[in-house]
Amino acid sequence: MIARYDAVVRGSGQLAAVLRPLRAEHRAHLAQLRSRLIVPPAAAARSAAASEERSAAAAEERSAAASPSPAAAAAPALDGASGRGSSDAGSGSASHGEPADVPAGRAAAISFLQGAERAAAATLLRKLPAVSPSLAQLMASVAASEATHVAALAAAGGTA
């Protein structure tokens, strides 16, 4: 999601002020979901390396804030997957690498984000039965936030 927002802002700077608060919320989602990543037992011996990876990921996120283009590429999979590593969670072709091409025009770009928000929320809700109570609470809350983003984007010129 973060990568998608970055891509839209790159294509239409006029939307930056509208999109920045929503993107910030996605960053908060990502931070919370990442904090609940479960390290498989086999990886326990590599905890030091994992720790380094997390540090690197955090550094990537910091750089993403300053320079949006490359660093957020990993975000959709993590955001949508809720720390479970599912490849379908990022809603569509943006699970790996750059997000799909952003359609031209303000309304189309906003609709693009609305579709991504809906898909991400739906993915989280589908996963609810299989996760722990505390993770279910977080995922449901994130899905609810994403649903409110759809309405916020509609107010910015998308479709209701």
Partner: protein, 154 residues
């Protein structure tokens, strides 16, 4: 004569549903106050939200009854979180009501029953939408009290 104890999960489910029902009762009462200070489109929205809370209340009562539980009754009156003298105050009350309902539904989401968990998630989403509409902006973690989760900024 042996007594049968309710299974712990069922007790937790009932407790979460009762808490959500209590929050819905308060919201139904509170929206009566909200609507009294609004007009036009805002009143229409408040009326719609009031009905939504009545529907959710009825659903919760039915779920509790089907589980053999006596639904918690509404209070005769509720102390409002703040005095309302204007449309702005009414909208602020609506936000508070929705936030409290959202927090109650987070408790419902934490139960192990898939059916009840999904119901809680749906209602959390609905109340988050209403809260965002009244608040005029979104929040990162609907249902979680402010500060309960560290929020990143960027």
């Amino acid at each position: 004569m042996a007594r049968t104890r309710p299974r712990p999960a069922a007790a937790n489910e009932a407790s979460a549903l009762q808490a959500a029902l209590a929050a819905e009762h308060a919201a139904v009462y509170g929206y009566g106050v909200v609507g009294a200070y609004l007009s036009g489109a805002a009143l229409t929205a408040a009326t719609s939200d009031w009905v939504a809370h009545e529907v959710a209340r009825d659903s919760l009562e039915a779920m509790l009854r089907s589980a053999g539980q006596q639904p918690v009754a509404a209070a005769v009156a509720y102390r409002l979180p703040h005095r309302v003298h204007s449309s702005a105050g009414a909208m602020s009350l609506a936000v508070t009501l929705e936030d409290r309902v959202a927090t109650a539904y987070l408790g419902v989401v934490a139960v192990t029953s898939t059916r009840i968990r999904e119901f809680g998630a749906r209602e959390l989403l609905a109340t988050a939408m209403r809260a965002a509409s009244w608040r005029g902006r979104t929040v990162a973690f609907p249902g979680f009290p402010a500060g309960a989760l560290h929020t990143a900024r960027g």
